[in-house]
Amino acid sequence: MSRRLQEGRAQHQRYKEDVEKRGKSFYPYAMFHDTVMSLVVVAVIVALACIWYLTAEVNEDGSSGSGALGVLYEDKADPGTTSFIPRPDWYFYFLFYLLRIFKWPDSVILGTVGIPTIALILLLALPFIDLRRERRLVRRPVAVVAVILTALSMGVLTYKGAVAEEGSEATGLVPEWIERFSIPPGDASEGAEIFSVSGCLNCHQYAGEGVPNLGAPELTEEGNKNRGVQWQIDHLECPSCVTPGSPMPPYEDLGQDNLRKLAAFLEASKGEAAGGEAAG
């Protein structure tokens, strides 16, 4: 038997004796604190519910205006709309934002699976990693630093996820794109229009516009990959069929016509240098 275990047992034995001898009874002492705290918790929850409901207005048509704590509900789910910004509940923001740091396809797995799994394994293994009996914080500098770093990084990521700008509709930029990247008129230019209003910029960047999410690639030079129009259409219809595991939502609801135009636009997007040549 290791010395450490022996020490631990002796200490727990002492603990039991001390508690028996000098401890106080759970009821009423500890129970009093617990009850006060529980009442505070319930009061906070009720208060949040009240603020949420009472500050939000319900409009004539039954839709909900935004109050101090946001809307009561959004519009009904509509798989056909594509400009909608996917946003998880706030306690997933840190994961969501983490994904901006990683890029598709190499390291996205690190963000979605890698880091959370490593964190969980570390947590599970903690009692077997830190075997010392020492509990005083001044003697556990590593633990203290670890807590501060974890709290800070989760706090910062959550905050950044919360204030992250959302890819706006960028219709106004379409003429500039057409000009700058020599997007040919016709399908490709109409595709640019569709691109700017279909929510693509919530995940992709185009010429610096939009926000990078979920590791989605920048699309300014998508055409240089020479995927071909049909490939683009297939990918847009069902991204995960073409690129297994793709988190990009399917866009078949846009309709064949629009998809063809989008694909033409993407294929014509060859960045500034190569602008124009092979488009058409």
């Binding site: 401890g23 604190h33 009240c50 519009d75 910004i85 509940d89 997933f92 947590l123 599970l124 988190p247």
Partner: protein, 267 residues
């Protein structure tokens, strides 16, 4: 103090009559189950004298969970898990059902409070070094509760079937799909098919109100059993921490030979 013996005596006589009536069912229950003794043990067990407000975070978390369970049951009485009706039932609960907004609001915000409290409780356990021998197992049970609680949040988020709910879940499930080997199967399983629709909603509903809460309740039970069995640790900075080494403890410490367990278990 002005004592008026006659009424007091009368009161005592009344008590003598009433007490057996009160005690009869209690004794009946105790004789057949031992539950009363168990409850007495729970209530009158000794805890370290230096525990403080930080130790209330665990029961605060428990309270938040109970709020979720109670409000969740009420919501389930009105909620209709189908893409055609879910959104409408949520609106009905919010706008028309009596105090429905309060129940829904408490459930919605209680979820956030629950998550915050879990993290705070975990931080306090970590900072107190309370995961060390002999409490390793209880720490592990706690760590298992953490992702389960977050999954509750994830599955519950879809249920209102509004735009945020839908699109966040589209992306969330797709992200599951990026996982190696099991990822695509997991995504397929969560969706219940190739597209997010009726089957996804009922699946999420079943997980949200049966599978996950069941698992959480089981683990909380185990967690609390271990807390009671092992006792909570004193704050590490306490000069008088239970179990700390003290020089003035001679081997024949008379303090060690004392009557065993006064009134701990009523038998």
């Amino acid at each position: 103090m002005a004592i008026t013996p006659p009424p007091a005596r009368r009161r005592k006589r009344r008590m003598d009559k009433v007490m057996p009536l009160v005690m009869m069912p209690v004794n009946w229950l105790e004789e057949r189950s031992g539950l009363v003794g168990g409850l007495k043990y729970f209530l009158f067990r000794k805890v370290p004298s230096d525990i403080n407000w930080f130790h209330t975070l665990g029961s605060a978390t428990l309270t938040a969970f109970i709020v979720q369970a109670v409000t969740g049951v009420i919501l389930a009485m009105y909620y209709k898990p189908h893409p055609d009706t879910a959104y409408e039932s949520i609106r009905y609960i919010t706008n028309e059902a009596t105090l429905g907004w309060l129940v829904r609001g408490m459930h919605r915000w209680g979820a956030s409070v629950f998550i915050i409290l879990i993290f705070l409780h975990m931080a306090r356990v970590f900072l107190f070094g309370a995961y060390k021998y002999p409490r390793e197992l209880n720490w592990i049970v706690g760590v298992m509760l953490l992702p389960l609680a977050m999954l509750e949040g994830f599955t519950g988020y879809l249920l209102p079937w509004d735009q945020t709910a839908y699109w966040a879940t589209v992306v969330g499930i797709n992200l599951n799909g990026t996982g190696p080997v099991v990822g695509p199967f997991l995504a397929q399983f969560l969706r219940g098919g190739d597209e997010i629709g009726t089957d996804t909603l009922t699946r999420f509903y079943a997980m949200h109100m049966l599978l996950l809460p069941g698992a959480i309740m089981g683990l909380i039970g185990l967690h609390l059993y271990l807390v009671i069995r092992l006792g909570v640790s004193s704050p590490p900075w306490s000069k008088d921490a239970a179990g700390s080494e003290r020089e003035e403890r001679p081997s024949g410490d008379p303090g060690l030979v004392r009557p065993r367990a006064r009134g701990r278990v009523a038998k």
